[in-house]
Amino acid sequence: MEGGESMLEENYEIFYGAQEKSTRDEVDPEAWRIVDEYVAEHPGGQEQLIPLLHRVQGKIGYLPFPIQEYVAEKLGMSPVEVYSVVSFYHFFTTTPRGRYQLKVCMGTACFVNNAQTICDILGDLVGLEVGGVTDDRLFSLEQVRCIGACGLAPAMMVNDEVHGHLTPKELRKLIRKLKSGARRQEEGGPE
């Protein structure tokens, strides 16, 4: 052996010092699987980018950078190309959201039907301010514009699913259900 640690250190830092370590991070293992699955089902490379990003964000709530890089690799694009698409569209986000994204509608119909109260109650139930994510990344809470379910006002969405005619009681039931579903899933059972 030659050189010795110190030379290895010094020489490496010159160029790579500023670079971070490679990360697969604390990304939800689910995310990698979604990408693999999707790519297997939908051949065709780059045209699949936006639908694939939608799918991933729909499931895990956001688009972590390691996943963007992975998507790039799978579709034969460069990572920054993927990021430039992600950053262009407002509906994509790179900051984590919960597994269950609670999106309370603040559109006119819901607003006059006490959406604010619904939102407050929901916040208390999961312990979040609007825009927050729980530590276990189970829930995130946001307010959105009309979701097109005015007839059901006050309404909200949990991920892609619409829940209408909300009452405090329903909300409690819903949150309880989501929590126990998640618990069961962790133990390996069905959701």
Binding site: M1, E2, G3, G4, E5, M7, L8, N11, Y12, I14, F15, Y16, A18, Q19, E20, K21, S22, R24, F65, Q68, E69, E73, G76, M77, S78, P79, V80, E81, Y83, S84, S87, F88
Partner: protein
């Protein structure tokens, strides 16, 4: 072109034009000045800056961007109306609002298209209330400064990096006022440092740190020459001031490289001023090398040569194929006529073996049948043996450009990768050294379909020898699945015109002569449908070959030396001790020579053992001509003078000739002699055979072949290239690293053949899984320690340290 010609009106004049052609090009061909900021002829039209607007007057009126508008029948275009001028002025004003205008101290002042246009068009009277959005300069890269406050978002850099360089390191992110050009997560640039982005940026938003000079653009002298780092032969545009290179770029209209360069041609020139360069002759006295005068050195060399001639111990010369044609011819004269010896040869070079032993026996002459530029227009290209991004960067750019812009596919068959595989259709990651088998299989398949010229001499026995290479057996020996083979075949069948490219470089596994012969045979049998391009390692291999410097193989010369048959050994740019494969026995042989003369720019290991060392001009310090692989002559123009007291090869040879009373012709007359291509015998096929190669065993394949930033002996003298490629890094595929539990920067031990090395892991998604990329030369002797023979396949293990 089958395009239909139509008539349109431009500024009231009737003009013939091609329907669907590019309007901007048409207007420019009419000598009309149309300003552009985001247009680049080499890229697909973009239409971002709207500086090129012209007015359309035929009903469907309005302002249209000329750069991204196709010509249509009956169009009426006005290029200089009041409205056009006003619109351009407004667009310039918009860009200026968010531009940190500081021309007097800007690095690009005087060479900035934006500045020039503002000067031409002026600015509107009315001031718009807007405050520059502050953004910090990115100075995290050692070579490229990015100044987003000067960026006008023309997107040229992003598109070049993607469409031609194929890297996609930078992208346009966010939108509206927040839009900016950046890397993923604003990480420091970690790219190929080709400089394409910088050289095409119309403003001063991208700055080359090593070329920051404070010397105004308008007092620099522009000179063009040919880059002599590798055999691609890119044209350079150097800006010189005070005898020094201030900046290097390339003109977008240059051939064959269309304004593109690689990191070596762009930045590697600091090696000319390396403190390690020899500046004075050295002579051995009392066992040690000491500086001496030129006359003393030359006299000693001439005396040694004459002594040898008189004692019937001939002189031998071994030259590197970097010599210019003139210098090569002079050397030939000196050795044959001046000293009556025929011990004349080039150093070991895969390209030489490929041409002499692979191409010449089959095609009749040792040269390629297609050029790099001609590859642009063939339907399908098959690249063999290496990733050209590592060995021949210009070829890589051509392939990417064909593929990205015109959807013309190429295949790449190589054991090791460098990133191009992502673009290949298909990529065949074959077992090291099995390219010849792949070619044999292809030939058999095409022969069976009756697509080859059966009238060729030797055709029958050639085809018979291919019979054994069934798909099954080929798949087994090459490690490529039958489906992939089929995919390759289908592409080949579809193509009307094919290009087959064989790459050579040091430490590439496999037998270049055999592979090239297989490729030449296939090309011969395909007739006019196909062309063969063999790319050697060094800049003027073809010229040195044509000049007849190949009388003896390097092995033969070393053997004669070892048998004490040689008197004086004259090495020009070759280093048998330090850079030839160990098994050739260079250092032992050198000891047997009576007198060793080394002509080099650096004190190589052979130079340390020499009796006289002569410092010489290199690369772009030389005048002369070279021959490109297709036989075309090209002129090397001296861009800067060599350090004082350093001569060019030819000058040294002429001085030696004077001492030997040999009269040498002028360079111009020499030129006449070159005679060009000899022979042109009819193609002749020989039965195919393959040498068995042991790639059995376990462990990772050791990849010590050229890397972009590090291609062996010369690059290590450029501090810039060294900085880009710390010689203590082993590159590996991320999945291999994951499997071994390694992260970027971890220290690992590489073990093989009873030797080991300690290196830092670098995850690189361009590395082929199952292989480890180790630099050929390090401060110690690098990966070459694991390799004894050229073309050998070596496997190593890796442990976390």
């Amino acid at each position: 072109m089958k395009e239909q010609m139509v008539t349109i009106t431009v500024n009231g004049r009737q003009v013939e034009a091609e329907q669907g052609g590019n309007l901007l090009n048409l207007l420019r061909s009419l000598d009309l000045d149309i300003p552009t900021l985001c247009h680049d002829d080499r890229l697909t039209p973009y239409g971002g800056c709207r500086l090129c607007v012209v007015e359309r007057k035929d009903g469907r009126g309005g302002m249209i961007p000329a750069c991204s508008t196709p010509v249509q029948r009956g169009m009426a275009i006005e290029t200089q109306t009041e409205a056009v001028i006003e619109s351009r002025r407004r667009n310039l004003q918009m860009l200026m609002l968010n531009h940190r205008m500081e021309c007097p101290v800007c690095e690009r002042s005087g060479d900035c298209r934006f500045q020039e246009l503002i000067y031409l068009y002026g600015t509107p009277e009315e001031q718009l209330p807007f405050e520059l959005i502050r953004r910090p300069i990115d100075d995290s890269s050692p070579f490229i400064l990015r100044d987003p406050e000067k960026c006008i978002l023309c997107g040229t850099c992003v598109r070049l990096c993607d469409e031609i360089q194929g890297v996609g390191e930078i992208g346009m992110v966010h939108r509206g006022l927040e839009a900016t050009v950046t890397t993923l997560l604003e990480r420091p640039l970690d790219c190929e440092f080709c400089g394409q982005c910088v050289n095409a940026c119309p403003v001063g938003a991208l700055i080359v740190r090593p070329y920051i000079s404070g010397i105004p653009a308008w007092i620099r002298e522009h000179r063009k020459s040919i880059c002599s780092w590798c055999s691609c032969g890119c044209e350079l545009d150097a800006e010189i001031y005070g005898g020094k290179i201030v900046r290097v770029s390339s003109d977008p209209t240059s051939e064959p490289n269309a304004g593109t360069l690689c990191v070596k041609g762009w930045l590697g020139w600091d090696l000319l001023e390396s403190p390690e360069r020899l500046r004075q002759p050295l002579i051995r006295k009392e066992g040690r090398l000491r500086e001496c005068s030129w006359s003393e050195a030359i006299e000693a060399v001439a005396a040694a040569m004459i002594r040898g001639r008189d004692q019937a111990k001939p002189a031998a010369a071994v030259a590197s194929s970097r010599l210019t044609n003139e210098d090569a011819l002079l050397l030939g004269r000196l050795i044959t006529e001046g000293l009556g010896s025929d011990w004349l040869g080039l150093g070991p070079d895969g390209g030489l073996r490929a041409l002499k032993e692979g191409v010449a026996p089959v095609l009749g002459s040792a040269r390629s049948t297609i050029t790099l530029s001609e590859l642009r227009d063939v339907d399908y290209v098959l690249v063999l043996r290496a990733d050209p991004g590592r060995t021949h960067p210009l070829l890589k750019r051509e392939l990417i450009r064909r593929h990205r812009q015109r959807k013309l596919p190429f295949a790449m068959a190589a054991a090791f990768t460098g990133g191009l595989e992502r673009h290949a259709r298909p990529f065949l990651g074959i077992l090291p050294g099995s390219e010849d088998i792949l070619l044999a299989w292809l030939s058999r398949e095409l022969a069976e379909r009756g697509l080859l010229d059966e009238g060729l001499e030797g055709y029958r026995s050639w085809v018979d020898s291919l019979k054994v290479w069934t798909t099954e057996k080929t798949a087994e020996r090459t490690g490529v699945t039958a489906e992939r083979l089929e995919e390759l075949l289908q592409h080949m069948l579809k193509a009307e015109k094919l290009g087959i490219v064989v790459l050579t470089g040091h430490a590439l596994p496999g037998d270049e002569a055999g592979t090239t012969e297989a490729a030449a045979s296939l090309v011969a049998a395909l007739g006019r449908k196909a062309g063969l391009l063999v790319l050697g390692e060094k800049t003027n291999l073809q010229g040195c070959l044509d000049s007849g410097l190949t009388a003896r193989a390097p092995e033969e010369i070393l053997e004669a030396l070892a048998a004490s048959k040689i008197g004086c050994l004259y090495l020009l740019g070759e280093d048998p001790v330090g850079s030839w494969p160990r098994s050739m026995g260079g250092s032992e042989a050198l000891e047997k020579a009576d007198f060793v003369v080394v002509q080099d720019a650096f004190l190589t290991q052979s130079a340390r053992a020499a009796d006289v060392v002569l410092p010489v001009a290199i690369l772009i310090e030389r005048n002369g001509t070279g021959t490109s692989p297709d036989g075309a002559l090209r002129r090397y123009q001296r861009l800067v003078d060599p350090p004082a007291g350093v001569l060019q090869d030819g000058e040294i040879i002429r001085t030696l000739a004077q001492c030997l009373d040999l009269k040498l012709p002028d360079d111009d007359d020499l030129f006449e002699e070159m005679g060009g291509v000899k022979d042109e015998g009819l193609p002749h096929l020989r039965p195919f055979s393959t040498k068995p190669r042991s790639s059995g065993g376990e462990g990772y394949f050791l990849d010590a072949s050229p890397q972009l930033f590090h291609s062996g002996g010369t690059t290590v003298h450029s501090a810039r290239l060294r900085e880009l490629s710390p010689d203590i890094v082993v590159r590996m595929a991320p999945e291999d690293a994951r499997a071994a539990g390694l992260e970027n920067g971890d220290t690992v031990r590489i073990v093989g053949e009873g030797r080991e090395m300690l290196l830092r892991a670098r995850l690189d998604r361009c590395v082929k899984p199952g292989s480890l990329v180790v630099p050929w030369r390090t401060r110690e002797n690098g990966a070459s320690r694991f390799i004894t023979r050229e073309g050998e396949v070596v496997r190593v293990r890796m442990r976390r340290s």
